[in-house]
């Protein structure tokens, strides 16, 4: 009971918990969840958000370090662009392998995740290492590369706002634009999209792959620009994998991803509080998190069954 109280307090119990823990942790999950949802909507199994995040972080860090003390707006925009580019380059490798050699993206993206981790590990000991060359990390970025906070005194940063806006834009794009509709059609029925709609499926999928990688890259940029202010190895505790659950739990609906990413962010923030305040060991916290996810899953499954029955009523 103490533990569950700590879980709640750590997630929502104070302004700090909400604005500086839960939502900060939700930010990468939100952006990555969108990246995953976009790809999955097009029928593309991009499991590589993790690696794309890392490469986005690399791109944004390189931009931040090389621009130094240029005006903040310029640096932040450059970091966004470089992050998106880094992520897109990384997903582009998988896209190219798919198109040129027919390599399934499910496996190539997993491999690229491992490779990205090794690459970051090398970069922070090589080209991007801090000048004393002692620690495996980059220098801390200058203040102009620190992304603005959204609320005075709290840690919530620009990345979250970008995520929310992107979620709404993506939702609008899916629902209201021809391009978004094309992507949905390709994912839901590629053959019909090609045959009935004259959609160029292959190039639609390629473009989605790049954009998905770019969004994941922005997540990496947001993490280094908004939270760590330097490039480290071990930047992500597996956000890219959690994001798959985030996106699926939201049924790939961008609006719902805002909610599910906050849910997972709250779980992580609350889980930390359980360790700190209730002295629940980390491993037990994992159990609690798993049980909460399974509980939500079971509840939605049961609700689905009822929905199915109600649909049958409508069908009459």
């Amino acid at each position: 009971m103490d533990a569950l109280a700590a879980l709640w307090d750590g997630a929502f119990g104070s302004a700090f918990a909400i604005w500086s823990a839960t939502l900060v942790r939700a930010t990468p999950l939100l952006l990555l969840g969108l990246a995953v949802a976009l790809a999955f909507r097009a029928g593309l199994l991009n499991i590589g958000a993790e690696g794309q995040l890392l490469m986005g972080a690399v791109g944004a860090s390189a931009a931040a370090l090389s621009l130094g003390t240029a005006p903040r707006a310029i640096v932040v925009l450059a970091m966004l662009a470089a992050g998106a580019t880094g992520g897109a380059l990384w997903s582009g490798i998988a896209a190219w392998l798919k198109r040129r050699f027919g390599v399934l993206e499910v496996i190539s993206t997993i491999m690229l995740n491992f490779i990205a981790a090794a690459l970051v590990s090398w970069l922070v000991r090589g080209p991007l290492q801090e000048p004393t060359r002692i620690y495996p990390q980059s220098s801390t970025f200058s203040a102009s590369a620190h992304w603005p906070f959204l609320i005075p005194g709290q840690r919530l940063h620009l990345g979250f706002a970008i995520g929310v806006v992107l979620a709404l834009v993506l939702w609008w794009w899916f629902e209201r634009t021809a391009g978004g509709f094309r992507v949905r059609a390709v994912g839901a029925g590629a053959r019909a999209a090609a045959s009935a709609g004259g959609v160029d499926v292959a190039s639609t999928v390629m473009r989605v792959f790049l954009v998905s990688g770019a969004i994941a890259g922005i997540a990496g940029a947001a993490e280094v620009g908004g939270v760590t202010w330097a490039l480290y190895e071990g930047l992500s505790p597996g956000y890219g994998y959690t994001a798959i659950a985030v996106a699926l739990l939201a049924r790939l609906d961008p609006r719902w991803i805002i909610a599910t990413s906050i849910f997972f962010g709250a779980l992580e923030a609350g889980a930390a509080a359980m360790q700190r305040d209730a002295q629940v060991p980390a491993v037990v916290v994992q159990i609690v998190v798993a049980l909460v996810v399974l509980g939500v899953l079971a509840v939605t499954a049961l609700r689905d069954k009822q929905m199915a029955q109600r649909l049958a009523v409508d069908a009459e």
């Binding site: 090794a118 798959i244 659950a245």
Partner: protein, 307 residues
């Protein structure tokens, strides 16, 4: 000359490293051929690790293996309830199962062994040289100076291939993964087949974990499965969903890792991250170069009840 001397240890290490990967991948293969992608495999492996450690400490290695297998199956059973009974999304359920198993094993380990851990006190099964065969130059010791688990694998691969292609049950399994409706029309009890497949995957995942503990490391530590479940899933894809292909792909991975270890031991002055990334780069290259039909089971990953 020196390199030639390293050939035997390299081959030996390849097979040894491949053994737990192959068990896990074969389990996943069976599950995927029934149309179920089991991301909870990592959880089954770590459960197998822990169950094996616990039981071997009490009853010796044989009991350890049995309990390891059962532990993997227990995790798989929970996964099956979610996927087959509640009909939830396979990927979320699998992810949660992995988390659950990592947490459960870590917690129990802490409770039972305290902060100091089990050390290396667990009885293990060491390599056993097959008389005669292990005397063959170079490949003899590599193939026939292994733990009994590797020999079990030698038997499991052809048996599984035979079962999958030469029995009615194997055919039913493949049909369920390819076209559920066809299997139903032929009078096959689809949920039963999927239950069986998921439990089998759990058993082999558990066996994989038990192998890690009882035939290799001799102890347990939190998260010692170290992503093998995910690599096993990649191996199934690389093996193009065939039994022999999967076994070969596991061997390729085993060899790539062994080569990585060897490279580092050769004292080559290159960033070590290069070696660590090597198996994954190699896989990408192989996937691109070794062309062939990509033949994922058609029903793979579809939620039960959504047709």
């Amino acid at each position: 000359m020196e390199l030639l001397l390293l050939l035997t240890p390299f081959l030996e290490a390849s097979l040894r490293t491949a053994t737990p990967l192959a068990f896990a991948a074969l389990g996943e293969l069976v599950s995927e051929r029934a149309g179920v992608i089991n991301l909870g495999l990592e959880g089954c492996i770590i459960a197998g690790c822990f169950g094996a450690l616990l039981a071997a400490g009490i009853g010796g290695p044989a009991i350890g293996f049995a309990v390891g297998v059962l532990s993997g199956m227990a995790i798989a059973a929970v996964f099956a309830i979610f996927v087959l009974v509640l009909r939830t999304d396979q990927i979320i359920a699998g992810t949660a199962m992995t988390l659950l198993a990592l947490g459960l094993t870590g917690t129990l380990y802490k409770v039972l062994y305290g902060a100091s851990g089990a050390a290396l006190g667990t009885p293990t099964v060491g390599p056993w040289a097959v008389p005669g065969l292990s005397a063959i130059p170079v490949i003899g010791p590599a193939l026939f100076r292994q733990s009994v688990l590797t020999y079990l694998l030698y038997a499991a691969v052809p048996t599984l291939a035979w079962w999958m292609h030469r029995t009615g049950a194997g055919l039913a399994l493949r049909a369920v993964g390819e076209r559920r409706a066809a299997a139903e029309a032929a009078g096959i009890d689809v949920p039963r087949v999927r239950w069986g497949a998921i439990l089998f995957a759990g058993a082999f995942g558990g066996l994989s974990g038990a192998t890690l503990v009882l035939a290799q490391v001799g102890t347990f530590n939190e998260g010692m499965s170290a992503g093998r479940g995910f690599i096993a899933i990649a191996i199934v894809v690389l093996g193009r969903w065939s039994v022999v292909g999967t076994a070969m792909a596991a061997l390729v991975f085993g060899a790539a890792f062994a080569l990585q270890y060897l490279f580092q031991a050769l004292d080559v002055q290159l960033p070590y991250q290069l070696f660590i990334a090597f198996p994954y780069v190699l896989t990408l290259v192989l996937l691109a170069v070794v062309r062939g039909r990509t033949a994922a089971p058609l029903e793979l990953g579809l939620r039960d009840g959504t047709r």
